[in-house]
């Protein structure tokens, strides 16, 4: 799945770069970042990259290679705690790949190599000695396609707590109810907790996946285009839910849908061809984009 994205990106990369680079804006009008300044002709000019306060995840000069092909170029950004950060950009720009670096799900793919660092609450997550299972417990994830296990609704929620050693039935029941309530699903499914999760609607399944992620009490939840397969009603429910989850969790959301990004997120990062082009508060990015590529993209000229 991921390598497919990467293939198309590779084909695209050259022509896009050649076409867009001469059109880069001459002046950097806004400067929100505090990092090193570089000439803004550089595609990864930090001038357009803000540094939000109170970061929980810090990405430092991250490059990622699929074999010989580079998919992410020197990404540096900070993810603010208890905010919603949206990653936008055209297909194959590397936003999902970046997301999967945060909980090291890219480890599953053969031949992935990473340079640079990601720090989670001050500790690097790329150390071989790191307990990857505990990392993933603390950084949950909701996928593009809802993926409930072929088990009952209750078992889906209880799965996470169980693997982390909670076997007491009363505790599990409590977690199930709490997580389902938190995911605004309790009233819909409380009478059929024993039924297969596969019988639920797409929107419900996705909220179940969110509830399942909440059940292990993570600190960060990664959303990988969570609404791309849902109708507008289900989408708005998920968006409302994200809005609420923000109070307790840090949300990092990959989305194709720019309206969604502008509706729900506090910060937005725009990626293009594996590079972080612009990262700013959402309102700023959508109303006053600093980079020409961002402007082109949000105004629908490409992507």
């Amino acid at each position: 799945m991921l390598s497919d994205n990467h293939e198309s990106e590779g084909v695209e990369a050259k022509s896009q770069t050649e076409r867009t680079e001469p059109n880069m804006p001459d002046e950097s009008l806004y400067q929100a970042g505090r990092g090193d300044r570089k000439p803004r002709q550089q595609p990864r000019s930090p001038s357009a990259i803000c540094v939000p306060p109170d970061p929980i995840v810090s990405i430092r000069k991250l490059s990622l290679f699929y074999g010989a092909k580079q998919a992410l170029f020197d990404i540096s950004m900070e993810i603010p705690k208890r905010k919603i950060t949206a990653l936008i950009g055209p297909s194959g720009c590397g936003k999902s790949t970046l997301l999967r670096c945060v909980n090291r799900l890219n480890d599953l793919i053969d031949g992935v190599r990473i340079d640079g660092q990601i720090q989670f609450e001050g500790t690097s997550i790329n150390e071989p000695t790191l307990d990857i299972n505990m990392l993933r417990k603390r950084i949950g994830m909701v996928f593009q396609k809802s993926n409930p296990f072929p088990k009952s609704i209750r078992e889906n929620i209880a799965f996470g707590p169980r693997i982390h050693g909670i076997n007491d039935k009363a505790t599990l029941d409590e977690i199930v109810e709490k997580s389902l309530r938190r995911a605004a699903l309790w009233d819909e499914v409380k009478d059929r907790l024993g039924e297969s999760a596969l019988g639920m609607s797409g929107g419900q399944q996705q909220r179940l996946c969110i509830a399942r992620a909440i059940a292990v009490e993570p600190e960060v939840i990664l959303f990988d285009e969570p609404c791309s397969a849902l109708d507008p009603v289900a989408t708005s429910k998920i968006e409302d839910l994200m809005e609420e989850l923000k109070q307790d969790y840090t949300l990092l959301v990959v989305t194709h849908n720019m309206q969604q990004a502008s509706r729900v997120s506090d910060y937005t990062a725009f990626f293009y061809l594996g590079k972080l082009i612009e990262y700013a508060q959402t309102e700023d990015l959508f109303t006053r984009p600093k980079m020409k590529q961002t402007e082109d993209y949000i105004s629908g000229r490409f992507g």
Binding site: R136, K137, C209, R212
Partner: protein
């Protein structure tokens, strides 16, 4: 489909060529599919048709009686016997005259007066002995044995059959009185005969007359006397001219041996009053006919004591009236009984079935017999002779005989036995229980599945979930190629190499079962002790090489430890230990050999399908589980395994189906004895191997032949059911997981 486009413009219509190609393709596909279904049904129908005659019951044509007074006659007949072709009959009348009749023409071909001086010596009773002798008891105590030979003159067309009467052998009694009970036996190969008679007190005299090999004349009778036990009502003799069984008035059976002499073995029959007794073919089974029409079978067993003793085996459905006379088949365990009311009953010994009771209307029946080929019944009575055609092609087969315990001659208890042919031995009782074959098939299947399922499923799990993808690309096809290995090679290797090797190195094999898993676990633990920095340099899944080394080392250790281990636990020699300590037989070609060899045939199938099942579990489920912090083992056991379970189930079932039908391995690497023991150190006989060995030998159309078809049908249905079950489960669960 094209009607909707009739009005559309030229260019918009699908071209005729494409339509034609579509149509042809459709027909080819439909024809192919229907052809497959038809051929499967055809095989099923063929098997059914070949096996179905087993269900046909014995039937009897209407009785044919003579119309001409001079031939078949209406005069009383004392004994009647027919030849193999049923074209000639010899019957004996009250005057002691034997007449040879041409049955079809109702003409007298020849006649002979057997009792020459009839004065004061009226015939008391006559008996047919086999198909080549008659015996007559006279009022003056004499007993005459008249043997004859059927001569075929093949130079004439149609073949002319004549009867050559031998010189009658006459036994005289000292009492000069008609015997109270008597019997005679005749051995056609030597010409010797035995006559046994008893007087009113029950004292028994047995006379053996041997024919002098040089002169061809009868020697003087050897007389043996037995003391009276009780007055006898009837006597039966074995064809060995040694066995004498007498039935007493108080319903006991006395069993003497001419050679041994002395006192008889005594058996209580439980029949109220014995009217008649007689031996079935083979002289093992004694049929006791009661005064109330009871019919009971006895034969010698060790069921109740150390010695062979006549034991009640089974009761048949009774005849309507007191039993009068008896006739045994010359080819199987069938017999006919006539009662005093003029009824004839047809029975079969092995199955315990009374097929029918018929009434030939010949008055009081004096003689009844089954024709030499078993294709007719001939009756002689006070109103002459009657014959009927008997059709009982498969008397040995009945549902009970095939699937229940049957008490066979020579066995001490009812049992399931398969013994389809007994060589040339006369009187052999074929044993057609399918249970030992089904048992053998299940034993082979279960033993091999015990080994194959864990190996294949866990192997598939490892290869699919843990192994490095590049290695997986090599290993999967390699294992699948194993499936293409001809099973005859596996059987050959198992029988000639593995079986002797295992006999010597069984201790090493047992050690491996423990040591290999332990060494793998130890290797895994050691690998985890390697610092993460070094481990991290190797791609995930490449730790397989550590395990390969561990397994090689484990095998080496087992081979080295074989001798010490064997002498420590098994006293130096495992097979001897099994025989002496466990007290069960150890055969070189045993079920363990089969389990190993069959695994080579079954593992690739189960592995391949299970591996697909594991690999088809959506990656996003795996990712979902990992993203919750589950480790790989938790993910595989709690998410992947349950999701792949339908596929694994169906893989197992397909493997099961393969194992059930597997022939060459079990044929070559077991002893093929149809025994029913779970002992892993002996063999078995499977349905498939049985068909392979016996199929080419059986006469077309025989009971054995049809039973083999029945076993084929059974195999077909069994594999069909298992494969169908696998498919149904697979489809149902695929539907259930369709939304994944």
């Amino acid at each position: 489909m094209n009607t909707g486009f009739v009005s559309s413009p030229q260019g918009a219509r699908t071209s005729a060529r494409r339509l034609r190609a579509d149509k042809i393709a459709r027909w080819v596909v439909v024809a192919g599919g229907l052809g497959i279904i038809a051929s499967i049904l055809g095989i099923l129908a063929f098997l059914l048709i070949e096996a179905s005659p087993l269900l046909i019951d014995a039937s009897l044509s209407p009785w044919k009686r003579g119309t001409n007074t001079s031939s078949f006659g209406t005069k009383p007949v004392l004994a009647v016997v027919v030849d193999e072709t049923k074209t000639r009959a010899i019957h004996l009348d009250m005057d002691g005259v034997a007449r040879v009749l041409k049955v079809a023409e109702e003409e007298v071909q020849a006649e002979k007066r057997i009792v020459t001086d009839a004065e004061g010596a009226a015939i008391v009773e006559a008996r047919v002995i086999g198909s080549r002798a008659m015996a007559i008891a006279l009022a003056d105590g004499r007993i005459v044995v008249q043997s004859f030979a059927w001569n075929e003159d093949t130079s004439r067309i149609p073949t002319e059959i004549t009867v050559e009467f031998a010189e009658p052998v006459v036994f005289t009694s000292t009492s000069k009185k008609a015997p109270a009970a008597w019997c005679a036996a005749f051995d056609p190969t030597t010409g010797s005969s035995l006559v046994v008679s008893t007087d009113a007190t029950g004292a028994v005299t047995a006379d053996v007359v041997k024919i002098n090999e040089f002169t061809g004349e009868a020697d003087e009778p050897d007389r043996v006397s037995f003391d009276a036990v009780a007055p006898l009502t009837d006597i039966a003799l074995g064809r060995d001219l040694d066995t004498i069984v007498g039935a007493t008035k108080d319903s006991r059976l006395l069993h003497w041996s001419v050679e041994r002499g002395g006192a008889p073995d005594i058996t209580e029959t439980g029949v109220r009053e014995i009217a008649h007794i007689g031996f079935l073919l083979g002289d093992q089974s004694l049929i006791v006919g009661g005064a109330g029409g009871e019919v009971v079978q006895f034969f010698p067993t060790r069921a109740s004591s150390e010695q062979l003793r006549l034991t009640k085996i089974r009761s048949f459905e009774s005849m309507p009236a007191r039993i009068r006379t008896f006739g045994a088949s010359h080819r199987n365990k069938a017999f006919v009984l006539a009662d005093e009311a003029g009824n004839v009953g047809y029975f079969y010994g092995t199955t315990g079935v009374r097929s029918f009771v018929a009434t030939p209307d010949v008055g009081e029946i004096a003689s009844v017999g089954i024709t030499p080929k078993g294709d007719g019944i001939v009756v002689g009575g006070s109103k002459g002779v009657a014959m009927a055609k008997l059709d009982d092609p498969h008397p040995e087969a009945s549902f009970d005989a095939l699937f229940s315990k049957v008490w066979y001659e020579g066995y001490d208890e009812p049992s399931y036995e398969w013994e389809s042919s007994g060589g040339a031995a006369s009187g052999f009782e074929p044993k057609f229980s399918l249970i030992p074959l089904i048992f053998g098939t299940l034993k082979a299947t279960i033993f091999s599945m015990i080994l194959a399922i864990p190996l294949a499923v866990l192997g598939a799990m490892f290869v699919s979930q843990f192994m490095h993808p590049r290695l997986r690309g090599l290993i999967k096809p390699a294992i699948e190629i194993m499936a293409a290995m001809p099973s005859v090679i596996l059987g050959f290797v198992a029988a000639l190499w593995l079986a002797p090797l295992l006999e010597v190195g069984f201790a090493a094999f047992l050690l491996m079962l423990v040591v290999l898993p332990l060494s793998v676990i130890a290797a895994g633990a050691l690998w985890m002790k390697v610092p993460a920095r070094i481990r991290g340099r190797y791609a995930m899944g490449s730790e397989i090489f550590v395990f390969v080394i561990a397994i090689a080392v484990g095998i080496g250790i087992c081979i080295l430890l074989d001798d010490p281990f064997e002498s420590l636990l098994f006293g130096g020699d495992f097979p001897t230990w099994v025989r002496e300590t466990l007290g069960i037989p150890y055969e070189q070609k045993n079920s363990v050999v089969i389990a190993i060899a069959m695994s080579f045939a079954v593992v690739p199938i189960i592995f391949s399908i299970s591996e697909d099942a594991f690999s088809n579990v959506p990656r996003n489920l795996v990712a979902g589980s990992l993203a919750l912090g589950a480790n790989r083992w938790q993910t595989v056991t709690r998410v992947v395994l349950p999701t792949a379970s339908p596929g694994i189930f169906s893989a197992t079932m397909v493997g099961f189906g393969r194992a059930i039908g597997e022939t060459m391995i079990v044929l070559m690497a077991t002893g093929n004895t149809a025994i029913m023991e779970w002992n892993p150190f002996n063999g078995f006989r499977t349905l498939s191997a049985n068909i392979a060995t016996e199929g080419p030998e059986t006469p077309v159309g025989s009971t054995h032949y049809r039973i083999l078809f029945l076993t084929a049908l059974l195999l077909f249905v069994l594999t069909f059911l298992i494969n169908t079950l696998a498919e149904v489960v697979r489809i149902r669960l695929r539907k259930r997981y369709a939304s994944l």
